[in-house]
Amino acid sequence: MRSVAIRFGQMLLVLWAVATLLFFMFRLMPGDPTLAYIDTTFTAEQQEALKRQFGLDRSILEQYLIYFGNILRGEFGTSFRVKRPVFEVIFDVLPNTLALTVVSITIAYLFGILAGAWLAWKRGSVAEAVGIPIVLTLRAAPEFWLGMVLLAIFAFGLGWFPSGGANSAGMTFNSTFDRLTSPDFLHHLVLPAATLALYLQGLPLLLMRSNMLDVLHEDYVMMARMKGLPEWRILLLHAARNALLPVVTAFALGLGASVGGNVVVETVFSWPGLGRVLVDAVASSDYPLAQGAFMFIAFILIVMNFVADLLYSVLDPRVSHG
C-alpha cells in the first residue's frame, strides 16, 4: 500500500514537471499566436487586442501562475484559433484516434507475439532467414511511404478500399458508437490500421523472439521435452508464458503512447485524429490547445506506466515493491 502511495506521489510530481515544461517550451518557441492573423487589414489595435484577449500582455510569471491555477481547477482554457474549450476539441477527434491506434496496436502485438515465438522456435531455419529481414524492413520503412504504397495499390489501383477519411462523404449516424461499429467506418479503418500495425509489429516480435530464445534454454523446457509433450504445447504453455512479461509492459506503454495519435498515418489517410490537431496547434502557436493536448497525452502515458508497474507485480510475484 505504501509503495502505491509513493508511486502516486511520483506521478503527481512528473505531471507538474510536464505542465511546467510545456508552458515554457511553447512560449520560448519563436513566433506568437498573433502571427496567424497577419493580413493586409491587420491593425496595431487588433494586435494589442489579441494579446490582451490571449493574456499574453501579462508577464510570463503571471501567465504561469494563472495557467497553473487553472489547471488545478481542471480548466485548460480556450483554443486561440478554434475558440472552443480545449477538451471539447480533443474529445471531438479522440474516438477516431483510439479506434485507429488501439486496433492496430492490438493486431501488431497479437501477431508479433505469435510470430516472435514461432521464429524463435525456428531458429536457424529458412523461415528465420526470410522472416527477420522482412520484419526489420517493415519496421524501418517510413510510415508515409508504406501508407502511400498501400493507398496506391489497394485504393487508387484496385479500388478495394477508400482513399481517405474515416467515413464516406455525407454519412449520418445516430451516435458515435453506431459510427465506430459501422461497416463504412471499418472499411475506412483497414488501410491506416494495416499501415500502423505493419510498423508497430516489429517491436513485440523481436522482443518476444529474444525472450523466447532465453527461455528455451531453461531447464523446465528441457523437462517438458523429456516428458514428450507436443511441441506446440511446450511452445505456448511453457515457454511463451514466461517470455511474455516484458512484452506486456511494452504493450501497456505502447497503448498509453497511442493516445497521441500518429501524425504521419493520419495525414496520409486524411484520418481526423488527435495527431493532426496537435500539429496544427503547435504550428499556429495555439498554446492552450497544444498544452492541453500534450498534458492529456502525458497524463494517459503516466497512468499507463503506473498500471504497467502494478500489473507487473501481479503477473510476476518475483517483482514486488517493499
Binding site: G31, G170, S270, R276
Partner: protein
C-alpha cells in the same frame, strides 16, 4: 609564411593601384563594400516553390557583385521576423493570397504602401512617400470608376518606379472537377478567383444521378461563425450559409444580392432596398432590423476581425419596411466591396441574446459556435465536424436555390490522396490542391471526365525590401535588383509554368485596374543603373557610392 603573405599583399596592392589608375581612381573614392545580404524565405519543406525562387533570385543578384545568403525559416518564424522585428532583416520573400474582397484595388493600394501602416501594419517594408500617400487617399475617395482607374494606375506606376517590392509572379490556381457529376456549362469562372467560387457551388447543375458536390480542403476548419474571419475554407462555408447585401460577381464587380437595389444618394449616403420574401433557415423573415443589427454587430468589439470593414459607417437608419439608409463618415470607393459585400447578414433573434451574454465576459462573439448555424443563404448547415467534414443542404426556400442537393466539404490533407479520390469519385470537386499542378493536368488527359481549370488569381509572390536598411533605402539599388531578375525563368522553373510574371500588386486577373508590364531581365541595364547611382565594382565586390559607410552587420 609571413613573408609570403606580405609578398602577395604587396602585389595585390600594386595591381589595385594600377587598376585604379586606369579607372581614374575609382577604387579610392568608392564607399564601403556592401555587407552580405540575407534573403529570407520560407524553408524548402514549408514552400519549395518560394525557396527555389529565392535561390534563383540570389543567383542573379550575385552577378551584380553582391554576397547573398538565402536563409530559410519555418513560416511562423519568418512572419515573426518580418512583422515584429522590422529593423532586423534585409529582404524577404512574401506572398499574398487571392480573396474576393481584393477584387477592389483599395486594400492593395492603400494598406500595402500607405505610410500609416508602416510602423505596425502591412507596410512592413517601411515605404514612406508623401506623394504616394496622397494618391492612395485620393483613389479611396474617388467614386467615379473611370477617374479612379487613372489614379490607381498612377499608384501602380509610382510603386513600380520606387520598387519597394520586387514583384515576381502571380501563381495560377489549379483545381479540377468531374464533368460526369457537374455540367461544365454551369461552372462559373470568377475573375481573379477561379472556378472554386460561390457562383459555381450555387449554380452547379447535376450531369448525372449524383446530386452532391463533394469538395475538399487540405486544412481543418477553425469555425463556422458569421462574425469570425477564421480561415479560407471556413469562408467558403460562411459565404454559402449567410447571405450578404451584395456579392462580388463573376466579373469582379459588386452586384446586389440580398439587396434588391443599392443607390448612392450622394458620396456619403447609400440607400439599400431589401429583396422581398427572404427567410432565415429557421423560417423567420429577414427584416431591415436584422440588417442593421448585422452591421452593428461588427462595429463594436464583439467581432474584431470584421471591425475594420465597417469602421466607415457613421450611422444606419430604417427608412421604410424594406429600406435602410447608410451614412458614411467619408466617401469611400471600395465601400460596396469591402463593407456591403463583406458583412454577413445574421438574425437578430439568434445573435442579440448571445452578444448581450458576452458583453460582460472576456470572450467575444468569435468564440460562440452555434450548434445549428442560422443564416439566410442558399445552403443550410446539415451537420459539421470541423476536422473531418461539413455537410450543407440546399435551401429550397431561397430565391436562388441551388440545383444540387448537398455541398460536402471534406478535410483531406494528403494532396496525392485528393487526386486519387477525384479519379475514383470519392471527391467530385478538387477545390483545394497544393501539389504539382502538372499531375492534375496529366490526370485530366488520361481520364476525360476530369476537367481542370488553371487560372491566374489575385494571389501574388514578391520580394519585400526593408527600406529602413541600407542599401535597400536607395531606389536605384532596388531598381537594379528588380531589373536583373528573370521572372519568366522563375515562373517556369520554380512554379513549373503555373504562374505568370508580375509587375504590380494588382493582378492581371483584374484587367480594369491592372497596369504595367513585367520588366525583362537585363544584367547590363542593372549594372548601368548601379553605376549611374555611384555604386562601384571593386574586384568582384559591389561597393556603396563614394563616401557611404556600411553601418550594419549581417544579422
Amino acid at each position: 609564411m609571413k613573408l609570403h603573405r606580405r609578398a602577395v599583399l604587396l602585389s595585390v596592392t600594386a595591381l589595385m593601384t594600377s587598376a585604379s589608375l586606369l579607372t581614374a581612381g575609382a577604387a579610392q573614392t568608392a564607399g564601403d563594400p556592401i555587407r552580405k545580404i540575407v534573403l529570407a524565405t520560407a524553408a524548402q519543406a514549408a514552400d519549395p516553390q518560394e525557396f527555389q525562387a529565392a535561390q534563383l533570385i540570389a543567383q542573379e543578384w550575385r552577378k551584380l557583385g553582391l554576397e547573398v545568403e538565402v536563409r530559410g525559416f519555418p513560416r511562423p518564424q519568418l512572419s515573426d521576423l518580418v512583422w515584429y522585428n522590422r529593423q532586423k532583416w534585409d529582404t524577404t520573400m512574401w506572398r499574398m493570397v487571392g480573396r474576393p474582397e481584393r477584387s477592389d484595388p483599395d486594400e492593395l493600394v492603400y494598406n500595402l504602401f500607405h505610410s500609416s501602416t508602416a510602423e505596425k501594419g502591412f507596410n512592413f517594408v517601411g515605404y514612406v512617400n508623401k506623394d504616394y500617400d496622397a494618391i492612395a487617399e485620393q483613389q479611396r475617395r474617388e467614386t467615379d470608376p473611370e477617374k479612379r482607374k487613372v489614379i490607381v494606375a498612377k499608384a501602380q506606376t509610382m510603386v513600380a518606379q520606387d520598387a519597394p517590392y520586387l514583384f515576381l509572379v502571380h501563381p495560377k490556381n489549379t483545381v479540377g472537377y468531374l464533368a460526369s457529376v457537374i455540367k461544365p456549362a454551369s461552372v462559373v469562372d470568377q475573375g481573379g478567383i477561379g472556378i472554386r467560387n460561390f457562383w459555381t457551388f450555387v449554380g452547379a447543375e447535376p450531369a448525372g444521378t449524383v446530386k452532391d458536390i463533394i469538395a475538399n480542403s487540405t486544412e481543418a476548419l477553425n469555425s463556422i461563425n458569421p462574425l469570425y474571419i477564421s480561415g479560407s475554407p471556413d469562408n467558403w462555408i460562411t459565404e454559402l450559409v449567410w447571405d450578404r447585401l451584395m456579392r462580388i460577381g463573376p466579373d469582379g464587380l459588386p452586384k446586389p444580392y440580398a439587396a434588391k437595389s443599392i443607390n448612392w444618394v450622394d458620396p456619403t449616403t447609400l440607400d439599400v432596398t431589401l429583396r422581398e420574401g427572404m427567410k432565415w433557415h429557421d423560417g423567420k423573415p429577414v427584416t431591415a432590423v436584422d440588417v442593421i443589427f448585422s452591421f452593428q454587430s461588427t462595429m463594436g468589439d464583439e467581432s474584431p476581425m470584421y471591425k475594420p470593414f465597417s469602421s466607415n459607417i457613421a450611422s444606419m437608419e430604417k427608412t421604410g419596411a424594406d429600406t435602410i439608409r447608410f451614412k458614411l463618415k467619408e466617401p469611400n470607393a471600395s465601400f460596396l466591396i469591402s463593407t456591403i459585400a463583406k458583412i454577413n447578414l445574421i438574425p437578430k433573434h439568434v445573435w442579440e441574446p448571445v452578444i448581450q451574454g458576452l458583453a460582460s465576459k472576456p470572450e467575444n462573439a468569435e468564440s460562440y459556435q452555434e450548434s445549428q448555424p442560422i443564416g439566410s443563404g442558399p445552403f443550410k448547415v446539415a451537420r459539421f465536424k470541423l476536422n473531418e467534414e461539413i455537410v450543407l443542404e440546399r435551401n429550397a426556400d431561397h430565391w436562388q436555390a441551388p440545383k444540387m442537393d448537398r455541398f460536402i466539404l471534406r478535410v483531406i490533407p494528403n494532396n496525392e490522396a485528393g487526386l486519387g479520390m477525384l479519379r475514383r469519385g470519392e471527391l467530385n470537386f478538387l477545390s483545394d490542391y497544393r501539389g504539382d499542378p502538372k499531375l492534375l493536368t496529366d490526370l485530366s488527359n488520361q481520364q476525360k471526365d476530369i476537367q481542370v481549370a488553371s487560372t491566374v488569381d489575385l494571389g501574388l509572390r514578391y520580394v519585400g525590401h526593408n527600406l529602413r536598411r541600407a542599401p535597400f533605402d536607395d531606389q536605384a539599388f532596388r531598381q537594379a535588383l528588380s531589373t536583373v531578375v528573370n521572372r519568366n525563368l522563375i515562373a517556369a522553373a520554380a512554379w513549373n509554368g503555373f504562374a505568370v510574371p508580375a509587375s504590380s500588386m494588382i493582378s492581371p486577373a483584374l484587367p480594369f485596374w491592372h497596369q504595367g508590364t513585367p520588366p525583362r531581365a537585363n544584367l547590363d541595364e542593372a549594372k548601368a543603373i548601379l553605376k549611374k547611382a555611384g555604386y562601384e565594382l571593386v574586384g568582384n565586390k559591389l561597393h556603396y557610392p563614394a563616401g557611404k559607410k556600411e553601418t550594419l552587420q549581417p544579422e
